[in-house]
Symmetry: none
Amino acid sequence: MKAEIIAIGTELLLGNILNTNAQYLSQELAALGYDMYYQSVVGDNFDRVKACISQAVDRSNAVIITGGLGPTPDDLSKEAAAEALGLELFEDEESIKAIEGYFKKSGRTMAEANRKQALFPKERCVIFPNGNGTAPGCAMTAENGSVVILMPGVPYEMKLMFEAHAKPFLAKRSNKTLVSRNVLVAGIGESMLTTIIPEYFEMTDPTVSPYCKPGLVTLRVTAAAESAEKAAEKCDKTVKELTEILGKNVCGVDCGSIENAVVGLLKEKGLHIATAESCTAGKISAAITAVSGASGVFDFGASTYSNEMKQKLLGVKSETLEKFGAVSAETACQMSAGIRKYANSDIGLSVTGVAGPGQSENKPAGLVYISLCDGEHTWVVRLMVGNAQNDRERVRNNAVTVALDLARRYLEHLPKVMDGHTDPDSPAPLNPEEFCLGMLNMQNQ
Amino acid sequence: MKAEIIAIGTELLLGNILNTNAQYLSQELAALGYDMYYQSVVGDNFDRVKACISQAVDRSNAVIITGGLGPTPDDLSKEAAAEALGLELFEDEESIKAIEGYFKKSGRTMAEANRKQALFPKERCVIFPNGNGTAPGCAMTAENGSVVILMPGVPYEMKLMFEAHAKPFLAKRSNKTLVSRNVLVAGIGESMLTTIIPEYFEMTDPTVSPYCKPGLVTLRVTAAAESAEKAAEKCDKTVKELTEILGKNVCGVDCGSIENAVVGLLKEKGLHIATAESCTAGKISAAITAVSGASGVFDFGASTYSNEMKQKLLGVKSETLEKFGAVSAETACQMSAGIRKYANSDIGLSVTGVAGPGQSENKPAGLVYISLCDGEHTWVVRLMVGNAQNDRERVRNNAVTVALDLARRYLEHLPKVMDGHTDPDSPAPLNPEEFCLGMLNMQNQ
């Protein structure tokens, strides 16, 4: 089965936003066993959109369209698709009710403009309700049997609608089953992975594809077979090999995110964590609390941006700040010990660093210290993000990942396997690279 | 002049990598005055690539192709383009020398496979040397006068080649200049805007297009003219009208983000802000500190997730928590007053809410209270995010925007125009919609 994706919206054509929907849908469609031939982006122009849809319907079995379902006059995907397929649009009662209900819930009344969002063909059309926005989607069937699927352009609305409605709809029409597993790896970059496990990236069944985020690589293992069971078998064999090779650097399989893994481990062990963040200033506590149920393991996080607050709340010593500076292993350790004490938690996690662009000679932008304290021991990791001067968010996001990974490693393995721990007043920073490779070698022995 | 972009590579089709080149080129081409009509992605298949190029050459004046210039057999962009344009390829001496030189520099010798990278048409072709890789690019001219530009797919090689060669080449052929202004609007949704200023969305010169984020709409005003000055004039006239109509709901013009606007206002007025976040748990402090130089206006933020910490750090009264609950206007007000006091700042900003999925009957997921305290007065806003049960991040992101917008409105207009302020112990929550529309009407009178 051939599939192609059409994203509609002038903001994509002008490069105002990145076409992340296309990447998400490509991965999902490939996993459903569809062969991807084309992706296109078209502006909000009726004739051009209609022409693109007609061409796509002729050459592909499934055409997935995102965007152009909004209430404004330049939202015209549905109108263009219907005309391309020779279908007429009528107001759908249930959809109108749903849209009115959506506005009511947030104490507003529906604007007239939203009425057009409830227009759908009466035949050859399945409506996909939208629980998370005003625009319902749908699947229209062309006379040649090809399907045209229309979904909102807002990524979170699109993803939820795809999962709930489009995916099952498309799965039914696919002639093979694909199964995927995601192995989340922290502490080893993509290029380092290609030198450690090159053979896996050349495999064809299952395939192994790397997807990178700051400090994280997801290895997506995908196998195709006539049955889900057979495909899963193939996947799991490869996943087992990968986890054996990568050892402690594996955060989890299909765990979603490193914050999920950390919150899960905290719950499992009945421990509470508290955070003290300079530099990242709330990004770690925000990540932890993005996991539903985090309140069971997280009580308090402090964004101590000024030295005064580091002293007042965390009890960082003024001598330490004077002698070593706010961005130092010593300060990081006193922060993790201090927040643990103040929040009366089991684990204290801290970050202090130079996000840039400002920097000093001995404290370059990209230098970050991350510390974990459990009351008995304190660990500190030194992170140096390269070429960071003009990328505050990259420095901060990498720091968040390494901090969560330090907590993850502690909860899974420490202090047993992790040596090099230090006391708050004379820490010997570990370079995360060595630190992670150390784990890796340890695993391989 | 019409332009379109074709990215070639199976890794894009499968979603293994994100098509960032398309975004970069779209922005650059729009700024050069080209009208962007299409973007496509095609796999490494000769016939499909050739067909795409032929279609593009027929409908666009400039076709920009990235990828497929490598040494491997599945690199075939140049071959397909030449055949589509009826041109023959010959080995170019200078290019061969350059490639050999590139290998020498890194102490290697050129592989035979790289020879094909030096093949170019002898006529209707300008070669773009590549100082940062082995693949030279080029501009081929079709018989109908359209140009086909070929560049490497590796982003940094492509960008450097575009800047040095393709951009000047395309600028010569462009007949107009585009100028854009971005008007950032908070407190009015997209559909509400279409009922307030429908005529603006139908304008053609300048054009006005809305781009939405949680709680924010950016109105991008774009004008074309023979000179940048003339285009800017047109833009600014429309921007002035929009800011007059939307009044206090305008966060700024080309201000980048609402956090930029808030930090800018705090610096301008020499004020410091402190945050107390339950629910958003660090997202507001993270947003503020994403702005370089935030340390001049932000010292401390607290993610007080538990009631204990709300009492211990912020001095929220236990009676208040018992009587009204943690998610209440009363608690929000005591939090903003408490954090202001603890951090010894000018302004205290607080959030408490139900992110979901968990909820109670009288405290549904999506209910958030946001408060600002300046020591004299305390304001509180009640926010209800609809259908939020399965979308923690949407609730949290909307809360961040409304909180930053409350600070922005305070710094620009309060307490002068903003009535309905209350004292911490008996607040009368304002619904943000009324609150914003109130501002809007006030502006229109």
